[in-house]
Chain length 133, copies 2
């Protein structure tokens, strides 16, 4: 069971801001990359490819951290530590790709990727530091 | 001995882009936060406070990762994995604070912090993924 996102965290996540998501490599070192994010309630959702380093990493160790700066007011940022509690695959992962593409571009994706190529991580937060509002 | 930064990595680091730096918590989980960065040759420099979570983390495990999206062209980003090879303290750390403040704000800092409160991490890259130019 995670902790809820604050209103400030939700506001910044719901804008077209990038999240920088950190995962753990096999040797215990960190890895971090920018991603598009969206939100279902208190869960943070990331749509990405199955063949990414981060996807391999979270299958080994589901612990992740996210850092999100609001483009209009970078500090204070949103900082989340949490866990990937579900890796969504198949047509539901394509639906996530469509949802996040519409959020960031305002349009439907020009074409849909093969379902086998996509995953969506569902992340529960264990710790949230963010502006209150 | 690290690897050199590509011209594309240097270009994006030298702009007023935020770096999101990931470190490892005591329990092996990741932590990530946005920082200002500057560069001395192939070394990436981060000026921050001594009392930050990331500073405690890198004293235990110097392995870090950075993700930097160019504000004008977010993809492809710069992704670096490397190590903090030196923690600079004292007056030299205040000089780093001044250098990075001038880079991001164009002005001298309004006031100088106590030397005891500041550190600068000097980071060598072991892996760099970035635009070529």
């Amino acid at each position: 069971m995670g902790v809820p996102l604050s209103d400030g965290a939700k506001r910044i996540i719901d804008k077209k801001n990038f999240a920088h998501v950190a995962t753990i490599m096999k040797d215990g070192s960190p890895q971090v990359s920018p991603v598009w994010v969206y939100r279902h309630g208190d869960d943070i959702m990331i749509s990405t490819g199955v063949d990414r380093v981060k996807t391999r990493n979270i299958q080994r160790d589901p612990r992740v951290a996210l850092s999100i700066s609001d483009i209009d007011q970078p500090f204070p940022p949103v900082q989340v530590r949490g866990r990937v509690v579900e890796i969504i695959r198949g047509e539901a992962a394509v639906e996530g790709f469509v949802e996040v593409t519409k959020k960031y571009t305002g349009s439907e994706p020009a074409q849909l990727p093969p379902a086998a190529d996509r995953v969506v991580y569902r992340i529960e937060a264990d710790s949230v530091v963010a502006p209150e509002k």
